[in-house]
């Protein structure tokens, strides 16, 4: 207690006030006076008395120092004075300080920003209880509804039937939950009962009754979905997400218990999911509502829910402690094989052998279903590498700056040593300076990191504010940034500090400033060369990605986007039966065509360059089954014109291809190349889903040009187009169950640009039916641009990092060159006094600078060639460094180096000989 109090008093004493100081003076002064008085009383002269009193005191200054040391904590006091001194020194050289701080802040900030994303996407667990016990059956990301045997025998999506069987027979799981694999592309339409609210398209995920229990979640309010809700015929209930409750319903508590109209059916909201829970996967479309699986057939008319062969569910379970994964995985694989053995899907000669390969892979699900990890994992890793390179360049720069500074201060250190400063003290002082520098940079880096992460998120998910990733730096990021900055500071502060402190003061003072060889050290030049090499690599990378983007964007997709708009809608969710959609489509065509300026109204299941795709196996009637697939689109008569697809043979879809006319198909050129021999005329042939009953469903009446759907990189994409209302003759399902009759998009082509088209389209559809809400509205070109957002992000980031690297390398080169010039001022003065031309001086300095850059190029070019293999997977048809990218990178680097070298070179040339010789 006593020592703590004493320590506290001393700590306070550390920040001694002037009053404490003057009190000390007064006390010692009064002591001295009394002593002198006594001495004089004993007969001494005043002078002698004073002398003896001072001797007895051991010297006035020494007494004061001893007193001060007891008053405060000398260690803290030194630190404070070191920091004060360091701040003063840094302020005195604002150029150095700003460069160093900015360099470090940008380097660390970029790393921290990327680490924020890496942390959120790759490392962080779901906000659920004990996420380590969560296991997913399956390891692949698939969508949305599938059927049939997989060639590799690996299954990640399952039918409702399979899920229920697995749940029954695996007591190794405390809970085994199932959830809709592809909810994102299938939004529902919801409207709160009674309010003024219009129907909105929202994301809903259908989940099993034990879903929330499996994740160990408690409701924010009300209750969560339970097993008794997930039963056919049970009253329909929904759980609303916390974010939706807060943002869309202003946290209104009365939402619990209220009725919502979901796809025109009444559903009761029974509770609110806990805050922070964004679903079972990290996506940019987190669910607004959670609904039980058994509500799906009623709400979404999805007959595949009860089809034992349709795979549409992911399965995630909470495993019991102590269960080994390996045997469990084997066991589930065997169970699956037994289930599939009785399925009709494995009965064909082609598919039966695949049964033996059936297996599953168990994967950890604590981080959720790895949806974004699948998409962004590789790219994030690439970005980590790139930002790591930038940090390396930044560190080299700092090292260089500190070295330059350390050598520049050699004589200062020598003077201090000569005046009696201990070496340890000098090193401590210099270290304080470096650490201070890095701490300041670290703090600025956090700001850079925050802004950077925001920018990255906006680039990765343009126009989407719903990604559940916070751009604020987490504790991990904070630690990461501070760690890097401190290590950098200490590492590069120590070396110059030690060199400076080791110098013999006499030597350092004697050698003065005149030197010819004492330019930059080998280490410094080496650092500049490495910087130049690394920035060349990054510049080449930036060039390649920019080239890649422009290549993709300018690829001829054989589409026409001028004055075209795409309105995604969902007639099924609006409550239309399949028997009513024919009239609806007719009404949509008629109403839009009455608008002045409207030229074409296309209606189809899918449109070019959107994420979705529907593929089926295809067989040409009378020919063997090639086991090949083609994408399948249903469209109305004006669809081809509305997206700009040209017919090259036969005819397109016509007005006469109604539901009662014979079923026809229009195929694309790749379809012809895939399924017909070269030169064979496809017109008149019949095709369909493989099998004797269905392979003659459609007659080919025309061939269209290949156009890009889904992805420009998807070449030789076989496709066929069928009239919107036609059903194949082999269709077994009654028309009421044929969900293929539901269109997904309206394509509008107008004679001129109409900026208010979105409002017009919404009004028009609402006028037809208030439930007919717009799921998504985009211009055709915006829809296409969206498909390139990842490539665009990569390209922009590479350019950004390349520019950063270039800037840092230029600063480094400038620093070293100007340092050399400063050191050689005397020498240059003598040369000029002896008649050297100013031009010669400029050349001499520049030659040095350019030499380092050229050496950097010589290293960087082969490294760039070697690094291409790491980014090849992100590039489209670019396998090596292109001459264009290389030329631009080399040119940019040389220009930057020239500028960085020219400034000090001109300064050298402006030296006045007499002045230079006098500055000794």
């Amino acid at each position: 207690m006593r020592t703590i109090k004493a320590l506290w008093m001393r700590f306070r004493g550390t920040f001694a006030t002037d009053r404490a100081e003057s009190e000390m003076y007064a006390e010692l002064e009064s002591h001295l006076e009394m002593h002198i008085e006594d001495g004089m009383r004993a007969g001494l002269t005043e002078q002698e008395a004073r002398r003896q009193a001072l001797i007895k005191l051991g010297g006035m200054e020494q007494a004061r120092t001893a007193y001060r040391e007891q008053r405060g904590l000398p260690f803290v006091e030194q630190l404070v004075s070191d920091v004060k001194y360091a701040l003063r020194t840094l302020r005195k050289t604002p150029g150095f300080t700003a460069t160093a701080v900015l360099t470090l802040a940008l380097g660390i900030g970029a790393n921290a920003a990327i680490f924020t994303l890496v942390n959120a996407v790759l490392l962080r667990n779901l906000p659920v209880s004990d996420p380590r016990m969560l296991v997913r059956i399956g390891d692949q990301i698939q969508c949305c509804v599938q059927e049939g045997a997989h060639d590799d025998g690996n299954y990640s999506m399952f039918s409702t039937h399979t899920y229920q069987e697995l749940k029954k027979s695996n007591p190794e799981f405390e809970e085994l939950a199932a959830m809709q694999a592809g909810f994102a592309p299938r939004p529902v339409i919801a409207r709160r009962d009674g309010g003024q609210e219009t129907a909105k398209s929202v994301i809903a995920e259908f989940v099993s009754g034990n879903y929330f229990r499996t994740f160990g979640l408690r409701p924010e309010a009300g209750r969560l979905i339970t097993d008794s809700d997930d039963v056919t015929g049970a009253p329909m209930v929904a759980v609303v997400s916390y974010e939706t409750w807060k943002n869309d319903y202003n946290g209104d508590p009365s939402i619990v218990g209220s009725t919502f109209w979901v796809n025109t059916k009444a559903v009761t909201v029974v509770g609110i999911a806990p805050s922070g829970f964004f679903g079972d996967r990290l996506t940019n479309t987190p669910p607004n509502f959670y609904l039980p699986i058994e509500a799906m057939p009623v709400l979404a008319n999805a007959d595949y829910v009860h089809d034992p062969d349709s795979e549409w569910l992911y399965i995630v379970g909470r495993i019991k402690p102590g269960i080994a994964w390996g045997p469990l995985q084997e066991k589930i694989g065997v169970q699956l094989k037994q289930l599939f053995a009785s399925s009709r899907l494995f009965s064909s000669a082609h598919d039966h052998p695949l049964l033996a390969k059936t297996h599953v892979v168990l994967t950890p699900a604590g981080g959720g279903i790895q949806y974004l990890r699948d998409w962004y994992g590789d790219r994030l890793k690439l970005l980590m590498w790139i930002s790591g390179l930038v940090l390396l360049i930044a560190c080299a720069n700092i090292a260089n700056l500190l070295l330059v500074r350390g050598m520049g201060r050699k004589s200062e250190m020598a003077v201090r040593t000569a005046l009696g400063a201990a070496r340890g003290r000098i090193v401590r002082q210099l270290m304080t300076e470096s650490v201070l520098l890095s701490v300041i940079s670290g703090m600025i880096a956090l700001v850079v990191s925050y802004a950077g992460a925001r920018m990255l998120l906006m680039m990765a998910f343009p126009g989407d504010q719903r990604v559940p990733i916070s751009s604020g730096p987490s504790l991990e990021v904070l630690g990461f940034a501070l760690c890097i900055s401190t290590v950098t500071g200490v590492l590069f502060g120590v070396a110059p500090a030690l060199t400076a402190a080791q110098a013999e003061p006499a030597d350092a003072l004697r050698s003065g400033k005149r030197t010819t060889t004492g330019g930059a050290s080998l280490l410094q030049r080496g650092l500049v060369i490495v910087q130049a090499a690394l920035s060349l690599v990054l510049l080449v990378g930036a060039g390649l990605f920019a080239q890649n983007l422009s290549k993709l964007e300018h690829m001829d997709m054989k589409l026409d986007t001028t004055n075209r708009y795409i309105v995604h809608f969902n007639p099924q969710a609006a409550g239309y039966a399949t028997t009513q959609v024919g009239a609806l489509y007719q009404m949509i065509e008629d109403r839009f065509l009455t608008m002045p300026g409207m030229q074409k109204v296309g209606i189809s299941t899918y449109t070019p360059m959107e994420g979705n795709n529907n593929g089926w196996g295809v067989q040409i009637q009378g020919q063997p089954d090639l086991h090949k697939h083609a994408s399948f689109i249903k469209a109305n008569a004006e669809y081809f014109d509305s997206v700009g697809t040209r017919v090259v043979m036969g005819r397109g879809i016509g007005l006469k291809d109604t539901s009662t006319a014979p079923a026809v198909g229009v195929v694309n050129q790749s379809f012809v190349n895939t399924f017909f021999k070269p030169g064979e005329n496809p017109l008149g042939h019949r095709f369909g889903i493989p099998g004797p009953a269905s392979s003659g469903d459609y007659e080919i009446v025309g061939v269209v040009e290949d156009t890009s759907y889904t992805d420009v990189k998807w070449k030789n994409h076989a496709m066929y187009f069928v009239p919107l209302m036609q059903r194949p003759a082999s269709a077994k399902r009654p028309i009421e169950k044929d969900s293929m009759l539901y269109a997904g998009a309206i394509v509008l082509q107008t004679s001129h640009a109409m900026p208010d088209m979105e409002a017009i389209a919404r009004r028009m559809l609402m006028g037809i039916n208030p439930n007919l809400s717009v799921v998504r509205f985009q211009t055709f070109s915006a829809q296409i641009a969206d498909r390139f957002s990842t490539d665009r992000m990569l390209s922009r980031l590479m350019t950004l990092f390349g520019a950063l690297a270039l800037l840092l390398a230029a600063v480094g080169l400038y620093g070293v060159t100007s340092y050399t010039v400063a050191r050689r001022t005397g020498e240059i003065g003598i040369r000029m006094a002896l008649g050297a031309e100013r031009a010669t001086v400029v050349t001499m300095v520049l030659r040095n600078a350019m030499m380092q850059t050229l050496l950097g190029l010589a290293i960087g070019v082969p490294v760039a060639y070697g690094c291409v293999k790491f980014v090849k997977s992100q590039l489209f048809e670019i396998n090596s460094v292109t001459p264009g990218a290389l030329t631009i990178a080399v040119g940019t680097l040389l220009t930057a180096a020239l500028v960085a070298g020219l400034i000090p070179a001109r300064r050298a040339a402006s030296i006045e000989p007499m002045q230079a010789l006098r500055t000794e």
Binding site: R2, K5, M9, L57, G59, A66, Q70
Partner: protein
């Protein structure tokens, strides 16, 4: 000049406390003089070390200080024993007596008991 002993580490505080106990409030110079007198001028006290020692005792709460006027009408800082200081002195006195007794027993002539 005769050989003088240095003040042992740690004993200066004890001497200060004891001096203040017997003399009442006193200034630094007075304390120093008093210690030298008691020791019969056998101790070489460096006055410069006295003030840090006084400050340490203040920080520990054993003594308190106050400005006042000396017998010669001079402004001086007076130190006074606090209650905690009295307790500290008692403890240290006991420790010291115990220690000297033990050492004395070691140094006393052999053959007893």
């Amino acid at each position: 000049m005769s050989e003088k002993s240095e003040v042992w580490q740690g004993t200066l505080a004890l001497m200060v406390l004891r001096t203040l106990e017997t003399m009442g409030p006193l200034h630094g110079y007075g304390i120093a003089r008093r210690i030298e007198q008691i020791s019969g001028d056998a101790l070489a006290l460096n006055y410069g070390t006295l003030y840090p020692a006084l400050l340490k005792l203040v920080q520990e709460g054993a003594i308190s200080s106050e400005w006042g006027t000396s017998e010669n009408n001079r402004k001086a800082k007076f130190y006074k024993l606090t209650r905690a200081g009295k307790k500290q002195l008692e403890g240290q006195r006991r420790d010291w007596e115990q220690a000297t007794e033990i050492v004395a027993r070691f140094l006393s002539p052999v053959g007893e008991g």
